[in-house]
Amino acid sequence: MIQIRGLSKSFVGQDGSVVHALRDVDLDIDENEFLTILGPSGCGKTTLLKAVAGLIPWNDGDILIDGSAVRGPGPERSMVFQNFALLPWATVLDNVGFGLRMRGIGRAERDERARALIEMVGLSGFETKRPGELSGGMQQRVGIARALAVEPRVLLMDEPFGAVDEQTRRLLQEELLSIWERRRMTVVFITHSMEEAVLLGDRVVLMSARPGQIAEIVPVPLPRPRSSDVGAIERSSDYVEVTAYLWDRLRDMHTEHRPSKVAG
């Protein structure tokens, strides 16, 4: 469904040197696939996601969605942000309806659809609250509801649970799985957590830094649906094995970039 061909992006760093945020990235993402992208910080995973979102330009290569080139944001894609990016003056209802409003949908239909999504993410009763009155986990539920309200075919998630505490994070992971199991769509999910990448993904794209490249694509041999018994999944040998393998690869990447190694 999404084809990324030879994607490269570089920019001039503060010290004048050229930084290759992405170099020659090729990636195919299937319809209704849950793809997680894992890598050390600075590997360009957020850059890759923002390029697919149509939010930033790139130097070389193509991104195709159903065969047509991405030239900017489009109605088939929506994004969930790491820092939630909620409007602090707007109520939960208006935040969830924001994307619909941008697409010219009138108040009545907007509110109706927003209410349905608010219920789906478990925030019924909070419609008139403002983001400042909500916990981080609740704020990201609003962010997810807003992204789902526009009924995207592709959901782009940029470390969506990176800013919430561990317990909330686990709850949100389970709920995301359960939403996705009921309502299939293509998900591209950025994370720096191996466990999260394996628990959620059909495949894990492992990226390496400087330059940002795809190091390996690791299939996750875990059964679906997974939301009903996350505990059993996490105890399964496949889960343990894949997670351990990803950590081995990541640790190698970190060691390669240790200053002493570079100097030697």
Partner: protein, 271 residues
């Protein structure tokens, strides 16, 4: 039993002490100021600083003779016109400067130059261009007000978090939607801070304009009373001007509270 009574007495004392602290600060300070004015006025006994009671008496005379009301209407109209123009122009130019680097580069130098220049030096220019009518006074009010509104609006726009703009764009928002639905509301608290500064300067501009260009309104009364060495009248009008300024600021604050209700209380008190 006696211990109980004693304890009760102790809490009563403590309560009385606390109630001193609970006295509202503003009225106490105003009362102290009034007493001080009255005392200094009586002791000094100079024509330009009569005691408060004399000034209040004169103010009552001026109000009942209708002198204040007519002039006040004139002045308020000058103020409203000048402040309204400053607000409209200041917001438009400020948003453009904050959002578009080219506009900032083109206009920034003028705005900063005119903000720091003493606004009253432009009075003779307006006087010769617009005559001694209302136009000149309104122009002076605008000179006093508009630049502070522009500069605050521009920096308010510039400090809007980039991720909110990015979020809006990801949902396909057009530039006008980004401006109206994200940037302006996000910048509103800081824009309103500039408007609050602007309204104070507008009152100053109104009085200066009325005193130095066309002698109308409250400014005329001040000029004429000053010429007669009538200190009580000058200070009586000054009280009216202060009342106008406080009223204007209160009006802006009421609007501000409506617009920025979403800002958390703690940061709002700090502004």
């Amino acid at each position: 039993m006696s211990a109980l009574v004693e304890r009760r007495g102790a809490t009563a004392v403590r309560r009385r002490r606390l109630s001193w602290r609970r006295l509202p600060a503003a009225p106490v300070s105003l009362a102290a100021g009034a007493v001080l004015w009255e005392l200094i006025g009586r002791v000094a006994d100079v024509p330009f600083f009569p005691p408060l009671t004399t000034v209040l008496g004169r103010l009552a005379d001026m109000v009942s003779s209708g002198q204040i009301i007519g002039s006040l209407g004139d002045s308020l109209l000058n103020l409203a016109l000048g402040f309204g123009i400053s607000l409209a122009a200041g917001l438009a130019v400020g948003v453009a400067m904050g959002r578009y680097r080219k506009v900032e580069a083109a206009l920034g130098v003028y705005v900063y130059a005119l903000l720091t220049a003493p606004s009253l030096v432009f009075a003779p220019i307006f006087f010769s261009l617009l005559g001694e009518g209302r136009g000149s006074i309104v122009a002076v009010v605008v000179m006093y007000t508009v630049f502070i509104v522009i500069i605050n609006t521009a920096s308010a726009i510039r400090t809007v978090p980039g991720h909110l703009v990015e979020m809006a764009r990801s949902y396909g928002a057009r530039e006008t939607q980004v401006l109206l639905r994200v940037i302006l509301p996000a910048a509103a608290p800081m824009i309103m801070a500039g408007v609050r500064l602007g309204v104070g300067r507008a009152v100053t501009g109104m009085i200066n304009g009325e005193m130095f260009i066309a002698v109308v309104g409250l400014g005329r009364i001040v000029t004429q009373a000053g010429g007669r060495f009538d200190g009580a009248s000058v200070l009586a009008v000054l009280l009216v001007i202060i009342a106008v300024a406080l009223g204007a600021v209160a009006l802006v604050q009421a609007v501000d509270r409506r617009i920025t209700r979403w800002v958390p209380k703690t940061t709002k008190d700090g502004l």
